[in-house]
Amino acid sequence: MRIVYYFFFMSMFLAFSGCLDLGPLLFNPDTSITEYLWDENPDNSYFDPEKNYYIKDGEFHYFTLESDHEGQVETIHAVYLGDLETIDSDTVIIYNHGNSYQMDVYYPRAQLLYHAGGKSRYGVLMMDYRGFGLSTGEPSESSLLSDVNSCIQWLKDRGLTEDRMIMYGYSLGSIPSVYLTATPQAMAPHKLMLEAPIGSISTMSSNGSGLSMPSSFFADLFADNIEEIKKVKQDLYWIHGEMDNFLNYTTHGEAIYNNHNSEYKIAVPVSNGDHGDTPFKMGEEKYMNSVYEFIKR
């Protein structure tokens, strides 16, 4: 019996002293950078060697803004591609990037969106969430929403209106995209676009373990896009690589798509796309056309 008591004592000790949380590990930023390299970033060397997708002179605007999350104010680094003077009449895509590195690694994707449907047709705003790149602070699931919302407010202050605001979320970026579309703060997006989105943290744990395990077994994470998408009334564009070896096409992306119940939605499966390369495996021009067709509809 002594062993039983020992086990009980030890389990209680560990349970109540246990302070480890896997939540912050959802984020994988590179905190070593000292500057953004944009198209000079070696990770972007694969993209556009002929400079077909360059940003027009005067339409690259790197800036910072303040973001307040529950009283914690941090400096968010962001870039706006487009004409600052015409935000009050342009259609603007807010691009929310994935869980790793920093925004200049995602710069080619922003370039494609900027040129979708014709040269420099859309404005694109991309930011580093707090704790990513040069943005200060530590990221958390809920602070993603505050940081993206601060960027929406920045656009609103410059004349953007809801009918011209498009929300685009890739992977981790699908969390603020879906939540801020379902429950808007500064403004409600007109349309929602998701690339290789996270279905839910429970989907991750269930798929990974092979058992019906809730996410609370692993971390203080709440994201459940599969449920949250039910509140979204805006049109939905969903693109996902069918070979996605990280966030499964069926269990993550398609589950979100199926639960979207409003008037219009379009699925863009890319048969040979993996998690990080879907627009490029689809083909840049084809991808940009599909984006354009969805937005102009």
Binding site: A15, N28, N207, L211, S212
Partner: protein
């Protein structure tokens, strides 16, 4: 090309909860004999191009209720540090003892209970195993099959496949030194389940299952 890195700890934690123990009491203890032990290991995962076993651990104890029946329980220590209490309790029963080249046969039934201190979710997964073992002068060689049963059909998120049964096959060698025993075990985990398309990047060339390796140290008392 943008490449999302593995969610390192989240990944190994998810991998571990289901697969972090080797077979226990393949040959049951003798009557009134006690044993305590510790084990570490789990599925091999791909991490930054390197294949690593999940370094998770548990502590366990067993008691020989009769010469054939051993009751046992375990505490999964690493899970607990992450606010999930994972305990297992079960019994191992000797059907026949080994004799020369004739293997001994035992069966083992275990309930794996998990409870988190975040949202107070709880799960209990039964596990049934059958073992063959051969005693020799150095220790014991064994092999067997275990079966995880998932009774929580409604706990699976939309579009995820409910798998009521997940098997694993294993073989191991126990080296004995007086009352001490050291066991090395290999498991072929979930060989009928796809290992692609999710956050855990299992290190396996095929599209199904995972390799698992484990180390146990045990000491016996009394008897």
């Amino acid at each position: 090309m943008t490449k999302t890195l593995p969610y390192f700890f989240l990944m190994i934690m998810i991998a571990c909860l289901t697969d972090c123990t080797p077979a226990r009491f393949v040959k049951p203890l003798e009557k009134n004999e006690w044993a305590i032990g510790a084990n570490a290991g789990g599925p091999l995962i791909d991490l930054f191009g390197t294949k690593l076993p999940v370094p998770f651990s548990s502590l366990y104890a067993g008691y020989g209720k009769t010469d054939r029946l051993t009751i046992h329980g375990g505490l999964h220590t690493t899970s607990l540090a992450y606010k999930t209490l994972q305990l297992d309790a079960g019994a191992s029963y000797l059907i026949i003892n080994s004799a020369g080249s004739i293997p001994g046969i035992s069966v083992n039934g275990t309930l794996n209970g998990m409870f988190d201190f975040r949202e107070y979710n709880a799960r209990v997964y039964p596990n049934l195993a059958g073992n063959l073992f051969w005693d020799d002068k150095y220790g014991r060689f064994y092999c067997g099959m275990e079966n995880w049963i998932d009774p929580f059909k409604n706990g699976v998120p939309d579009n995820s496949t409910y798998k009521p049964w997940t098997p694993a096959f294993y073989l191991g060698e126990t080296l004995k030194l007086n009352k001490w025993e050291v066991t090395f075990e290999y498991k072929n985990l979930a060989p009928y389940t796809s290992n692609r398309g999710h956050v855990v990047q299992y290190a396996r060339s095929g599209k199904k299952g995972a390799h698992g390796i484990y180390l146990s140290i045990q000491k016996r008392f009394g008897g």
